[in-house]
Symmetry: C2
Subunit: 444 residues, 2 copies
């Protein structure tokens, strides 16, 4: 079997830790069995491997998440990036055609699932049985059905042909998207499940649908023509049109840790980072800054600090966060990249229109920043730790702590770390945007 993890979303509901560049699945706030921190996506990949399901995992994601996934999961999986943003149907077709291009046979079972559900081991056993069910021909499409615990109005419901108590696959009669509460109560009485967004099918099943909707496209053609593909969801194009659909029940823990209120419930450590607390009850303090956070007498609150900002919120009211922070901060102040990480430590706009942006950057050994130039800014790099190799206008030299390099606008530059390499970058110009970058090929 193969697993396709869907990694999307750029949420601010966990601001200031999540931002446009760092989605919630990348926050290392959970705890591994060995006590080390892990993110939601690291947890799901670890659980897949612990369950012995497969080593063949493909993450379907946008280009903006590629660096974070590589940094967190490295060689543990493959990454298929959408060249631009479409909907889930093209994204899943692209990942499936990638599997086909790598020689995956048409009868191989494929699981499509979210990368950030917070669940327990039983969930992965059900996934294993879903794969068996499609292999055995129980149905073309098998969905996971979460046994509802209350009549929620925020989930889609899967209604089985007949109400049943067991944990075997059942034929599906119909789907109902986000009903009102009285309707949800009736659906539950009929034995309906929540749709958990986990799908199983044989690879050939989806290839056939793709060939009908977007004929004659292999992986390469899909990528090259991605912007022209229809913006339709997998639910609409595949699930709702399917004639042979079954649901496999799951009754264990299943949570979306998408808000501070739900996430903090699962934190083993209420305090992260440089934190001093006194007399704080049912409160969580997460500090990614180096300066200390001192909390006294906070009750049922979340306090979170990152280079993007500082949140102090009553837990129950933290769901209001999104509309308050949508207008804030045009740029991410912290990013995990393929080559390492950076944070913005200072930013000033002067009256004359000039701006200065100061970053602290660290490259991992062997990693490099691509050969590039900027049109609207100069950069000063002061190396403060480690060693590396710099290319400036085609000339190579080594750099180490204590060296200072100035890079004028239009000058070509690349950098590779030999050891962990940390430097302070001061950008100056009238427009200091990430987009002001032209990348060129370079052979190290």
């Amino acid at each position: 079997m193969k697993i396709i993890l869907l990694s999307g979303g750029s949420g601010k509901r966990l601001w200031p830790l999540s931002n446009d560049a760092r989605s919630k699945q990348f926050l290392r706030l959970l705890t591994r069995p060995d006590g080390e921190p892990e993110s939601m996506i690291q947890r799901v990949v670890r659980q897949i491997k612990d369950a012995g399901l497969t080593d063949d995992i493909v993450v379907a994601t946008g280009i903006n998440q590629k660096d974070a996934i590589e940094s967190q999961l490295g060689d543990a999986l493959s990454i298929v990036t959408e060249p631009c943003r479409r909907d889930t149907f093209p994204a899943i077709v692209l990942a499936c055609s990638y599997l086909a291009s790598k020689g995956t046979p048409a009868d191989e079972p494929v699981i499509v699932m979210p990368c950030d559900s917070y669940t327990e081991a039983q969930y992965f056993k059900v996934i294993g049985r879903m794969a068996h069910a499609v292999s055995d021909g129980v149905a073309d499409l098998v969905l996971m059905g979460i046994r509802p615990t209350y009549p929620s109005a925020k989930y889609g419901y899967i209604v089985p042909a007949e109400k049943a108590e067991g944990d075997g696959a059942q034929p599906v009669k119909r789907f109902t998207e986000k009903p009102d509460v009285p309707t949800a109560e009736k659906l539950i009485a009929e034995g309906a499940f929540w749709n958990g967004g986990v799908f199983a099918f044989r690879l050939g099943y989806l290839s056939d649908i793709a060939a009908r909707v977007m004929p004659g496209m292999d992986f390469k053609a899909l990528r090259n023509n991605y912007a022209t593909l229809p913006k339709i969801s997998f639910d609409y194009e595949v699930v709702e049109k399917a004639t042979s659909v079954a649901v496999m029940p799951y009754a264990g823990q299943w949570k979306d840790l998408g808000t501070w209120n739900t996430l903090t419930d699962e934190l083993e450590q209420p305090f992260h980072g440089n934190v001093v607390v006194e007399d704080c009850g049912n409160s969580y303090v997460i500090n990614e800054l180096e300066i200390p956070v001192v909390a006294i007498g906070a009750k049922s609150m979340v306090i979170a600090a990152s280079p993007d900002g500082i949140l102090v919120s009553e837990l129950a009211k933290s769901e209001n966060l999104k509309h308050l922070v949508d207008g804030l901060g045009k740029r991410p102040m912290y990013e995990e990249r393929r080559w390492g990480e950076y944070k913005v430590i200072d930013y000033i706009e002067f009256k004359d229109g000039n701006c200065a942006l100061t970053k602290q950057l660290t490259l991992r050994p062997g990693c490099s920043i691509s050969y590039q130039r900027h049109s609207f800014r100069t950069e000063t790099w002061t190396f403060i730790n480690g060693e590396g190799e710099l290319v400036l206008n085609g000339e190579r030299r080594t750099v180490k702590a204590g060296d200072v390099i100035t890079i004028g606008s239009g000058e070509m530059h690349a950098l590779r770390a030999t050891t962990p390499l940390t430097f302070i970058e001061v950008q100056q110009g009238t427009s200091l945007v990430e987009d002001d970058i032209e990348r060129f090929d370079f052979e190290w």
Copy 2:
């Protein structure tokens, strides 16, 4: 009359806004009548001038506060700095001998008072009457007596010879330092006052006492031998030994805004800086950082953020702050200096023992950093705004935004601003302490 303002204290009870370099009297959180922000010391000096008491104000303070006072009050007053820390008697004698050295006659009335009491106009009228009382020979020493509002155990009490209701000077019978509450109740029944730390005397009165305790010392000799002077308080050496003492009553507003709980009561603006709030009642958010603070559902709390750290505290519990923060942060992360201001924006200690400290500094036009060298650090200066003049190893040159200067350890350097001059400084070395600085004379 002359006024000596005592400016001392390096408190952390208003952390993270106050630190070892920034005492509470320098926080610009109060509001002038014209709506502009002002600090406690600026308010007291403005009130003295509004009351028409005198233009001759001397601040007696430590060397570490000199820059902040010059920056906030400029030419409005004189500053007499203690060469090292003694107690209030030597400090007041030093300030008085400074006045004498400037030709102040022996019969001139002198007022000694704190620089950070939060009071109203009537307070300064009483001070004026205290000066008149010593001029008129009512007593050698006249103290302000604050009419008590409750039997506090934390103040000193001044007991008059007879209980009286009026606002005229009364002879003093005795002093009682911090009695217990039942004793305080009895003292109040006797007509006792709180000691507000405001004293009036003729200059010659104190000169005579000083000549007896520390004979033969003029201003210059006192400064040069300051470390050898006795560590005794003005209360002990002067007030308690005085034979002719009167108390002048004051019954108006009199507060020490020394904790978040008392300070926030007097803030006209509950929110300062880059702040977003929703559903916060009786809460104060003061943000000196550039990143936003978002507060949701905070009730009766103070939230304060500065380069030194972040505080989130229930107002009533903010008095506990001091013992929690005493161990934090060995260095001030923000300082107001004679030449401008700086903040630390990044600090890292590496495993090999090397450290890197990054600051953003701004010099005011015409102001300069002294000619200096460091033994244990290099500095990289990246200028990001304005123009100035640099001296490096004796050679002068102009610098402007875009320029980068590296200063090796042992290299002599000075800098003067022509326009507001902002630069990013990266310090590197094994020991990055403010003390690693040797200053030299330089004629601009």
